[in-house]
Amino acid sequence: MTIAADAPTEAAPSSAPQVYSAPGTEGSVVSYKPRYDHFIGGRYVPPAEGQYFDDISPVTGKPFTEMARGTAKDVDAAVEAGWKAFPAWARTSPAERALMLTRIADRMEANLEAIAVAETWENGKPVRECLAADIPLAIDHFRYFAGALRAQEGGVSEIDHDTVAYHFHEPLGVVGQIIPWNFPILMAVWKLAPALAAGNCIVLKPAEQTPASIHLVLDLIKDLIPAGVLNIVNGFGFEAGAPLASHPRIRKIAFTGETTTGRLIMQYASENLIPVTLELGGKSPNIFFEDVAREHDAFYEKAQEGFSFFALNQGEVCTCPSRALVAKSIYDGFVADGVERIKRIKQGNPLDVSTMIGAQASNDQLEKILSYMDIGKQGGAKLLVGGERAELPGDLAGGYYVQPTIFEGTNDMRIFQEEIFGPVLALTSFDGFDEAISIANDTLYGLGAGVWSRDGSQLYRAGRAIEAGRVWCNTYHQYPAHAAFGGYKQSGIGRENHKMMLDHYQQTKNLLVSYAEGPMGFF
């Protein structure tokens, strides 16, 4: 798969089964515990209010474990534990912290298959994605930041002959991180790895739809992390997320999600005068220029795969290429081939390694996608394929499955302008470079984009003209740790990935030193 991590990581064992058993059943490679508390100060702590909530597998629609239901008291305890651990953690050497990250990566790699199956069970995504992409990328992310930290340098600036400015990196302190449900482990690791590398302590709140898989990883690595450096409080946004984001003793808050909550988090951050990083999604255009179809060769097949990538992870990707823009001159043939490809997508049991599209992550997500299919039909868009809930047999009947869907229409329709977060493509045509760019930029968002062309110059000009933080050129859905990721416009503030992330979790300390022998001469 092209989405696989770029670093070498051991693949699933060759003896891997065709269909994994459900976690906790006979023959399964992994089991969830029946209950997960909060992880505070290096140990599991029951919720202050004593309440728990069910964690539901979208594969079957049935609960499989229960989670502590956190409140402000639990968040307070976690922040306190973080500050208690911070002085010692902040004094550790980069080599010590890098070694910890490397050991975490090794431990995860040794348990890759178990983590992958657990992630599929909680999120609903096909296990082949977890095996080939999510978990290898998460492992590589820890290794990348271990390396980046070791190689990071401060600065020495010679102001004049007697005066020198030294610049040091220092950690922020205790930071808050709120994780989305679409890549529960990978999105957690995107935030954890740079924050830990930089020497911060963390209070992390996983999404209430997918809170357990990060605890399963934590169980494997918790002996490697000093007590209080990483704290996890489970719970609902209103009860635990808001108390964390508004906590007066956090030094930064990072959030991935949607715009209204993003605004609320900035509002809280303004009350405490702390920085935020926000990743708020998009409505990413995927542009196919005329020369793509000049030959029906390997590149054409690659572009066709790029067209199909809206269905990856059931469309539950912030950068889902949910708007396809195809040159008018090649439209009919290219789209016909694309629709055929979509019809060949294998939908089914996410634990089957040949399954290409699994379950939506939750019932409310399913309902929202179906409501948008209704909006598409009402708004005059033409349905080319899909358009319904997918009914699967047996144990899967209660799960949340949607057919991969393509609507043809125009960019002013709501299905072209709002993130559906499902396997739903809004397809239109363009006439020439200028119209392609105009349609691509006619959106409130600017997170991802794709450009496909055999002409390097056109690729470059289009990539630079699109207002988005990540423009994939002749590729899509690759997420290497060494490439910056983040949004223009309403898609957010700040970046994730890349060594620049260390800066997002560090203060700059400047020592301005005079080596002059005598006074300056003012007094």
């Binding site: 609902f236 605004r263 999604g281 709501r414 709002e418 200028d434 003209a465």
Partner: protein, 137 residues
Amino acid sequence: MTASKIDVSPAAAELLRSLAAKHGPLMFHQSGGCCDGSSPMCYPVGMFRTGRSDVHLGDLDIAGTDPVPVYMSASQYELWKFTHITIDLVDGRGSGFSVEAPEGKRFLIRSRMLTDAEVTELGIEPRFTLGAQPLLR
């Protein structure tokens, strides 16, 4: 004027009544973007700050509670202004900070296009284009 841009389903109204009894007066702000984007977020009045960038679509009148104002960012409203929305309720748990999630419920928007008569009555102007100019040619 009888035309309205917003409405509420009986199930959503019932939950809003019980949430208001617990949390006080409520409001909605329609979200955009990923994850739980494109969903209405419900907050106790005073929790979320609206401003110049928002449009007040109207108030939901629910017997036995204060009116529930509904807002949306002006930029998003440009795309929604020919749409009539009904706030409905489904099972689930959004991952934003919306107040109903701990109840195992999630508010959801049902949409229909406004009729020509409604558009005229509501005095809605046609849409302008959001498109930015290419930065580099």
